[in-house]
């Protein structure tokens, strides 16, 4: 197995002259659950379509399992190793649940009938109902069933829990974690639900205007980012803080800093100023996200 499942470098895509993806660098190692975050219109779905070869890039590189996703070299062979749940959860509306499963099965030699049965039951899907008559949550569950049962080595999920009720969401998250733990499946998913990303992802990237602005191992980001509250004895003269001190706000004798790195250096700088006391607070993904995508 290659040591990288998804790799993009300097990836670009223009729509009508406007960059939707603008020099994107991503690295997704095997076995990781990778949370792909960004505001609406930041370029998430375009990136996903580039990863799957549904769109041709306008520059840069994209490789999945070490192969290009378009053209004769990669293409279909690579795509067979990928399970995909699309943003709109679109499937042939005139087919029933049973029919779409029967239709999909022959394309994949490694089809897992045991997983198919398991997920029909877990997701409580009615086999004889037409897809057009399914709720969005049920269509999502069905797409997940198809993606998982064909034994994909990589799942690419565009907002997989959107429109699901909390009970089904919990089931989906649990199953994704189980797949990753037991089969080593790599999972790349976009989401607006920061809480679920925080729960199951080991890596994240935040994309803004087509570019990755933050990325890495989530626990390392949690360690790197801290909120500092510094209280001075009297109102201080302007301080020049070390790099990594973001959004410094002063209110009288109190200074609040969001440190994105160099926390120790910033704390030491504060302590070197007479009479300052420093408190440190952990920072959740939501605060990190808002700091980097705030409209500037």
């Amino acid at each position: 197995m290659s040591d990288v499942v998804i790799e993009t470098s300097g990836l670009r895509k223009l729509f009508d002259g406007h960059p939707a993806v603008d020099g994107l660098d991503l690295t997704v190692p095997p076995g990781s659950i990778f949370g792909f975050l960004g505001r609406n219109g930041a370029g998430k779905t375009t990136t996903i379509r580039l990863l799957l070869g549904f769109l041709r890039s306008g520059g840069g590189q994209v490789r999945v399992f070490g192969e290009p996703v378009v053209g004769p070299a990669g293409g279909a062979r690579t795509r067979r190793r990928i399970g995909f749940v699309s943003e709109n959860k679109d499937l042939y509306p005139y087919m029933t649940v049973r029919q779409i499963i029967r239709f999909t099965r022959p394309f994949f030699p490694g089809w897992r009938a045991d997983l198919e049965r398991r997920y029909l039951e877990i997701f409580n899907l009615p086999p004889d109902r037409k897809i057009s008559a399914l709720s969005k949550g049920m269509r999502t569950s069905l797409m997940l069933l198809l993606a998982i049962s064909h034994r994909a080595e990589l799942l690419v999920l565009d907002e997989p829990t959107e429109g699901l009720d909390p009970a089904v969401t919990e089931i989906v998250l649990r199953e994704l974690v189980a797949l990753s733990a037991s089969e080593g499946t790599t999972i790349f998913f976009s989401s607006h639900q920061l809480a679920e990303v925080e729960q199951i992802a080991d890596r994240v990237a935040i994309i803004e205007r087509g570019r990755a602005v933050v990325g890495g191992v989530l626990d390392d980001l949690r360690a790197r980012y801290q909120r500092l509250r510094i209280v001075f004895q009297r109102e201080p003269a302007p301080v020049s803080w070390p790099e990594g001190a973001e959004s410094v706000r002063q209110d009288g004798r109190t200074v609040s800093i969001l440190a994105s790195r160099n926390v120790e250096a910033i704390v030491q700088r504060a302590r070197s100023l007479s009479g300052a006391s420093v408190e440190r607070f952990p920072v959740g993904l939501k605060e990190i996200f808002l700091e980097h995508v705030r409209s500037k």
């Binding site: 076995g31 659950i33 649990r174 992802a201 626990d219 030491q268």
Partner: protein, 133 residues
């Protein structure tokens, strides 16, 4: 079955939270030398968390000598850590009496927490300065 409870949105790295809870379970005697921790897969599924994060926590705990990873068998609480746990139980008594005396003075819970934090920060700062000189 497990008594671990993690808070993914607190901003504290999850592997550190898990390590802390294992250490705590040893200190209180809920886990003893030779006890087996859940397998990586079982714990990941039960807590609905990433198995790579569980691996990281177990590896770090092994590095600290809290657990032994026996290949193919799983993670077991190590013997020496029990001694540490005994020390912690003694320390617990000291901490308890300090907190009670601060309480008697009229300090609130939040103030007591801040006092401890400040002492520890000051100690850390002194150590850093000592290292630089």
């Amino acid at each position: 079955m497990t008594f671990f409870r993690l808070n993914p949105s607190s901003g504290v790295p999850l592997y550190l939270q898990l390590m802390e809870q294992v250490r705590h379970a040893v200190e209180t005697g809920a886990l003893r030398a030779g006890d087996q921790l859940p397998t990586i897969r079982a714990l990941a599924q039960e807590l609905v968390m990433n198995s790579n994060t569980v691996v990281r926590a177990y590896r770090e705990l092994e590095h600290e000598g809290v657990v032994e990873l026996r290949h193919g068998l799983g993670a077991f609480i190590s013997k020496p850590v029990e001694e540490r746990a005994k020390l912690m139980r003694k320390a617990q008594v000291i901490a308890q009496s300090a907190v009670e005396r601060l309480r008697a003075l009229g300090a609130t819970e939040e103030e007591i927490r801040r006092l401890f934090e400040r002492e520890l920060s000051a100690m850390q700062a002194e150590q850093l300065e000592g290292r630089q000189q």
